[in-house]
Symmetry: C2
Subunit: 139 residues, 2 copies
DNA sequence: TCTTGACTTGGAGTGTACTCCAAGTTGTAT
DNA sequence: ATACAACTTGGAGTACACTCCAAGTCAAGA
């Protein structure tokens, strides 16, 4: 990962460092997933390193299947301060479990794909075998 | 997995055995992802075990991130017969690699979540530590 | 025969997450 | 001073994958 400067003073740079698009950053702010960003005198958004890291963490949660609504909820808990810590922990634990289930599902599908690739390769070597696998896409 | 009978004679049963909804099955047929299903004299759809297994395989590809368009492409190759075998193998290999990348990403996010959970727990034990972690959502 | 329920069709509507646009403002280089 | 790029806003449009609906047909039981 690129290392993030202490502050950036344009949405373009924020996009560059977080991997989000400029439009997506504005959209997230619009729906309340990101807090209203500080503006310069010109009205342009500025971001601290702190905020950029938060955005990167959001992209990770999203990339692992958390919805924008769930992330908004998490953010609201964060804003309520320390009292919400236990709730935040349990959300993270639950999300971690979801990720684990997803991993298990992916591994199983990899096994099935391997099986199909093996079948395909056998048919490539000996086309007469073709009739043996009647399963769709497998023969 | 439930075992699938040799044939089913309604879309309801097909839905039951594949896990897809009736509407989704009709939708897949409409967009050409599934071939036009055989109909009884009444016009009701019937499906062979062969076809049901194909539908289950589609759900796996979809659950692991393949789009409907990509699946349509794969299906068309399948319909072109044996000559498309090498192409189908390479699509499967590529998809398997995508799954691997996804798994790697999920594992990395799990590690990050673990790190955050640890931080949270430390703060829960000793609230004074709270100032140490300035990273959003992490403190 | 009549009702009930499962099915058929084409097409409209939904939810999520963007993505783009028009009109206007500001900052920088020549 | 002027051009031009980068930014601002509210709001409209898009892509994907369904999901629902209305109107009609068909099969089986009371």
């Amino acid at each position: 990962m690129i290392d993030i400067p202490e502050t950036v003073s344009s949405i373009k740079q924020a996009a560059e460092f977080t991997g989000l698009s400029e439009d997506t950053i504005r959209y997230y702010e619009k729906i309340g997933l990101l807090p209203y960003a500080d503006r310069k005198a010109s009205g342009h958004r500025t971001y601290s390193k702190h905020q950029l890291e938060g955005m990167v963490f959001l992209t990770r949660l999203k990339a692992t299947g958390m919805t924008l609504e769930e992330m908004k909820h998490f953010r609201k808990l964060y804003e309520r301060g320390e009292a919400s810590l236990p709730q935040r922990v349990s959300i993270l634990i639950e999300h971690k479990n979801r990720i684990q289930n997803e991993i298990d599902r992916l591994l199983e599908t990899q096994r099935i794909i391997d099986y199909k690739i093996d079948n395909y390769n056998e048919v490539l070597v000996n086309p007469d075998l073709n009739k043996k696998w009647k399963s769709p896409f497998a023969d």
